[in-house]
Symmetry: C2
Subunit: 340 residues, 2 copies
DNA sequence: GCTGGCACTCGTTTGCTCGGAGTGCCAACT
DNA sequence: AGTTGGCACTCCGAGCAAACGAGTGCCAGC
């Protein structure tokens, strides 16, 4: 039985608790929000809410605190995304429009997100695996040394140095350049790696060795998932505002060091929807006191990576959700533009 | 008047305090270190050390704690660098030898340094300004779109996209490629930027416009000191072991967000010497409770950047100094190798 | 079904005592 | 002159009890 007023009470409890960080009692609730009923009535509702597991009493004579289940209901049913102010929108737009390359976009997004939400922000670098090859460049540094440069559609550039057993002349290198580009330009990276694998069989005999070496590092670079695991973190200083150090801050600090953990937190689910994971719902029991608000980004439903914020379960969900969504949209747009 | 035994006492106080985090009294001192004198004698020495400002008493009936001045004396006169264990040396060597590119070297160094010292580690990316141009590549993506790739001696790769007003044919682009490389390959970046500036005057008239555009982004990329300000930070979780949150952890967390501050902490002095900055000696009064152990790195006295660790003034100086120096040496070696 | 009243609970704050670690000083010893 | 044992003194912090008060649950009345 969850009638409207009880939902109002729950919303009020969440909002007050988020604001004050202290268990909220019936009297304060009625005063701060114009509930139009007496404290006693609210107390009855609170007792019911507690029975149903939405709120919890730290000890007998204390106010109530939302449970994870309570936050969940709040997020699902009660929260309306706080619209970004015009100033905030402008800040996002001007900052991100000024980014010069991929690294810059990621760095600026992290900074932005942490400042908007006053929380720890996490931005995953666009995954290699979903992007396409834009261009491959072969640069001969010395006769036996070739620098291989792989330019991807997301703007990511990978370079590798290859030592060849025999010298290769520039015209041969030019031929190879054309060949590798024909095989892979515009193709998704996994397919490109496969196509390149067959390439050494198709070139002139005297080029086979160098082709093999070059294709080797290329496919290696393409299947190198190191970048899939790269994330940028920012706003750690916001942890300082957390109340409880040992249960909240320390485990989170440790998690932030482990990028694999962070990726799991962001949820590589591949979906672009805005997701909220509250406390124990997450995969790590040490992080039972923290929530994650995350979403995927990428042009038009094309998932390139995820970004989000991590904070205490007691956090401003509407604000965080709005900020995460807004930043994700801008990042998607920017990446799309650079890609035309 | 600083005789030998008083120095011994100071050393013992520093070592004990670093180990226990608690003010150390005369009795415990005599017991733990074989000083060969009675507590009363030590007390006299301690009184003298306190008069001279090397140690300090939190309150009348407490033990002594080293002052910044005391740590300074300890570092200058009393500390001998803890030699790295064979296992540690091996760990450094194998980890860094496995690095595939510049980013990787920096990331791994940070991780290494923070693990070795159990402290917050900071590694500055090699500055652009001191490096030389290894190669410039021009890739035509569409007839009016050229990707400019700048490869530096440190392994750093910068890319920029240029929109041209008029289409440029591949042969012209090849000519330009040769021209820009002739002007700048092997040249220090500042000089290269200057040399490139004169280039548009020297090309064929129909190329002037595209040359100007390309040279424009190149010089911009070369004089872009954004990378001079890039630093990697790791081991933040080690902050969790700090005692006092508000005076020690919070300001440091805030400082870690501000890369400019970090660079100042590392000290861009340009010297490659191992420097230790203790508490108030640093430029920020908020960081009076933290010390910095840093050094420059780069092949043979050629300063490319700095790296170091930040921790509480009460830290293991000998260990940190040894680790910082060892990592700096390895990083220098790696960068030198990649440069041949 | 809402409300005011009331007894009750229990964590927090405050004030207090008391033990002990550590000191400074002094007189005696080497 | 430097070192030592002895001793009175200081003061922090642990431990405990009492007072406080915010908040509750329940009940009778509207």
């Amino acid at each position: 039985m969850v009638d409207d007023r009880k939902l109002d009470v729950l919303r009020a409890i969440v909002e007050d608790y988020v604001a004050t960080e202290e268990p909220v009692g019936s009297k304060a609730l009625v005063e701060r929000h114009g509930l139009g009923v007496s404290p006693a009535t609210v107390r009855n509702d609170m007792a019911a809410l507690e029975d149903e597991g939405y709120i919890h009493q730290p000890h007998t004579s204390a106010g109530r605190v939302p449970t994870d289940k309570g936050y969940r209901l709040f997020v699902d049913k009660l929260a309306t995304l706080k619209p970004m102010s015009a100033a905030e929108r402008r800040a996002i737009a001007t900052l991100l429009d000024g980014a010069v390359d991929l690294d810059d976009v990621v760095q600026k997004s992290v900074r932005l997100l942490s400042q908007l939400t006053r929380q720890v922000a996490i931005v995953q670098y666009p995954t290699l695996s979903r992007s396409t090859v834009r261009h491959i460049e072969l640069v001969s540094l010395t006769p036996t040394r070739v620098m291989v440069i792989l330019i991807l559609s997301t703007g990511r550039v990978e370079q590798r140095l290859v030592e060849l057993d025999a010298a290769v002349v520039d015209t041969d290198l030019a031929e190879l350049r054309v060949a590798v580009n024909q095989a892979s330009a515009g193709v998704q990276i996994a397919a490109a790696a496969a196509a390149l694998g067959d390439l050494p069989d198709a070139v002139r005999p005297e080029q086979v060795d160098s082709a093999r070496a070059i294709v080797g590092v290329l496919t290696e670079a393409m299947s190198d998932h190191r970048n899939d695991e790269r994330v940028a973190v920012g706003g750690t200083a916001n942890l300082a505002r957390y109340g409880d150090f040992d249960t909240a801050v320390r485990p989170l600090l440790e998690a932030l060091e482990e990028h694999v953990v962070l990726l799991k937190l962001l949820g590589e689910s591949g979906t672009d929807a805005l997701t909220v994971r509250i406390g124990h719902e997450g995969p790590y029991s040490e992080l039972a006191a923290t929530s994650v608000v995350a979403t995927g980004y990428g042009p038009q439903e094309f998932h390139l990576g995820s970004l989000g914020v991590v904070g205490p379960t007691r956090m401003d969900y509407p604000g965080s959700m709005a900020a995460v969504r807004a930043v994700a949209r801008y990042v998607s747009r920017i990446l799309d533009e650079g890609n035309q």
